[in-house]
């Protein structure tokens, strides 16, 4: 496809910025006598080390595995529950205070309880990610239902839709754009939580890599390598979710009304 020079330049700009910062970083580190940060070259060496030992793929897969399960479990539970709560006003009045109390508790505060219940292992980490995703998602779902304009529901009723069809043909499509945005933000949260959870609750994954690299001989090149990998994977996850937002039948929103 033909791309105009302006678009190309637009895509180049962030790459150039990152390259410039890397050069400054490299120069700054080589001019310093005390070792505050590994240089970009050392970090690249660290990443190469991880690849050579097969650890990069292994740890990235371990982290993604936990995120996937925690995120999917939370979505599978929070979205239907949130949609139902939002649909019935009385349910919302009953549940809302409880959700508001549990929501501000950082999932990391649950680490001791997670380990008590599930031991050190995948389950504890999955549980923490689940908690980190559950509350934002349930609030998104409740909100999404309540913001569905009454005209859509009334139009559906007018054409004689059954209750099930009303949910399936009007309610679901009407909330999907908001849900996708909520899912995108929540996946970001899940990715934040997994790193923290792995520092304490498990013995593999990118979070564990960072703690382990420091404990086992102050390998700060590996610490920063782990951080870079986390950042890149986070970016890719977000790009994946954003591509969902571009699906045509999802792309509308009713903000214009």
């Amino acid at each position: 496809m033909y791309r105009s020079p302006q678009i190309l330049r637009g895509q180049l700009r962030p790459v150039i910025l990152i390259a410039v910062l890397l050069v400054i970083w490299q120069i700054a580190v080589t001019r310093q006598t005390i070792h505050l940060l590994p240089s970009p070259v050392e970090v690249v060496g660290g990443i190469a080390d991880l690849v050579r030992h097969g650890l990069l793929l292994k740890y990235a897969v371990a982290s993604l595995f936990r995120v996937t399960w925690g995120f999917l479990l939370a979505a599978g539970l929070a979205i239907p529950l949130g949609l139902s709560i939002g649909w019935y006003r009385r349910a919302e009045m009953a549940f809302n205070p409880l959700i508001q109390i549990l929501r501000p508790i950082s999932p990391l505060a649950w680490i001791p309880i997670a380990i008590l219940w599930f031991g050190v292992g995948d389950l504890a980490a999955v549980f923490l990610i689940f908690l980190g995703c559950f509350f934002p998602l349930i609030l998104t779902a409740i909100n999404a239902v309540q913001r569905v304009p009454a005209v859509y529901v009334n139009a559906g009723r007018n054409f004689g839709l059954s209750r099930a069809d009303l949910v399936y043909r009007v309610l679901f499509p009407a909330v999907i754009p908001q849900l996708i945005t909520g899912l995108r933000i929540t996946l970001g949260i899940a990715w934040l939580v997994v790193v923290a959870a792995e520092m304490i609750a498990v013995n593999s994954g990118l979070g564990f890599l960072i703690v382990d690299a420091r404990n086992a001989g102050n390998r700060y090149d590996l610490v920063v390598a782990g951080m870079v990998v986390i950042g890149v994977i986070g970016l890719l996850l977000d790009m994946g979710m954003r591509s969902l937002e571009r699906v045509k039948s999802f792309r509308w929103s009713y903000s214009e009304d």
Binding site: N158, D165, R251, W252
Partner: protein
């Protein structure tokens, strides 16, 4: 002067609103909106309802369509009490009721689920043509103008072959040129299909251009103040003395004559 005729035009009574009152309760305060509205709509009639803004026109229309239950009184259609919305009578909500997640095709097909697929396709094609949106079948509402969206919503309503249409200021959000075009199209469709139409508007000219009769509502709590029969055949000459006489009569009734 405009004469008052209480009975509907011809073909028997389709809808009869019998002493409808509506009182809204909010925060312990009760607001009476409708104060004993009596109204009859004839079979195949085009009835317009006008009144000052906020007088309860839309409330009356929603009640007649079954979306609201009156505090007292009842609405009867075909001699049966209205207990809820029904696919034989479709409510058109400006263009806001068009589903933004469906294409033009999908919107028009929305209410046709009880029909077999070939019949659905036939009706969709028929109404796309009627509203002049050929070539836009796969377009989403966000890609359409306000007037096009409005036509899609009218087509979606007509596709289920309803015997009544309730239109709540359907052209209120359109620019004045599109509005004129849409009025002409609605009349053309009505003359072809002869559904019973109840049309709420705050625009007196619009009411006099379209309606067989115009019901004038009073301020809140509203009653029907007067019903004016518009005895000019379509197409109506908007500069004829009779048109101006009827229009000025209604303006006067609303206390607005020669005040601008």
């Amino acid at each position: 002067m405009a004469e008052t005729i209480m009975g509907p035009v011809a073909g028997g009574v389709k809808l009869s609103a019998q002493h409808i009152t509506m009182v809204f309760q909010r925060d312990g305060k009760s607001t009476p909106v409708l104060d004993g509205v009596d109204l009859e709509v004839g079979q195949g009639e085009f009835l317009c309802i006008v009144g000052p803004s906020g007088c309860g026109k839309s409330t009356l229309l929603s009640t007649m369509a079954g979306f609201l239950s009156p505090t007292s009184g009842e609405v009867r259609i075909d001699d049966e009490t209205v207990r809820g919305p029904d696919r034989r009578r479709i409510f058109v909500f400006q263009e806001r009721g068009v589903f933004p997640w469906l294409t033009v095709d999908g919107n028009i097909e929305f209410g046709l689920f009880p029909l077999a697929r070939p019949e659905r396709r036939r009706r969709v094609a028929h109404y796309i043509k009627m509203i002049g949106l050929e070539g836009f079948e796969k377009a989403y509402p966000a890609e359409l103008s306000g007037g096009m969206k409005q036509r899609v919503e009218v087509a979606r309503a007509l596709a289920v072959n309803p015997d009544m249409l309730f239109l709540d200021e359907p052209f209120g959000a359109l620019d004045s040129i599109t509005r004129l075009v849409m009025r002409g199209e609605l009349l053309r469709i009505w003359e072809a299909e002869r559904n019973t139409i109840v049309f709420v508007t705050h625009d007196i000219d619009e009411a006099v251009q379209l309606g067989d009769r115009v019901a004038v509502m009073s301020d809140r709590p509203a009653k029907i103040q007067q019903i004016v029969k518009i005895d000019i055949p379509h197409p109506r000459d908007l500069s004829s003395p009779r048109y101006l006489e009827l229009r000025n009569g209604i303006l006067k009734q609303l206390g607005l004559a020669h005040k601008v």
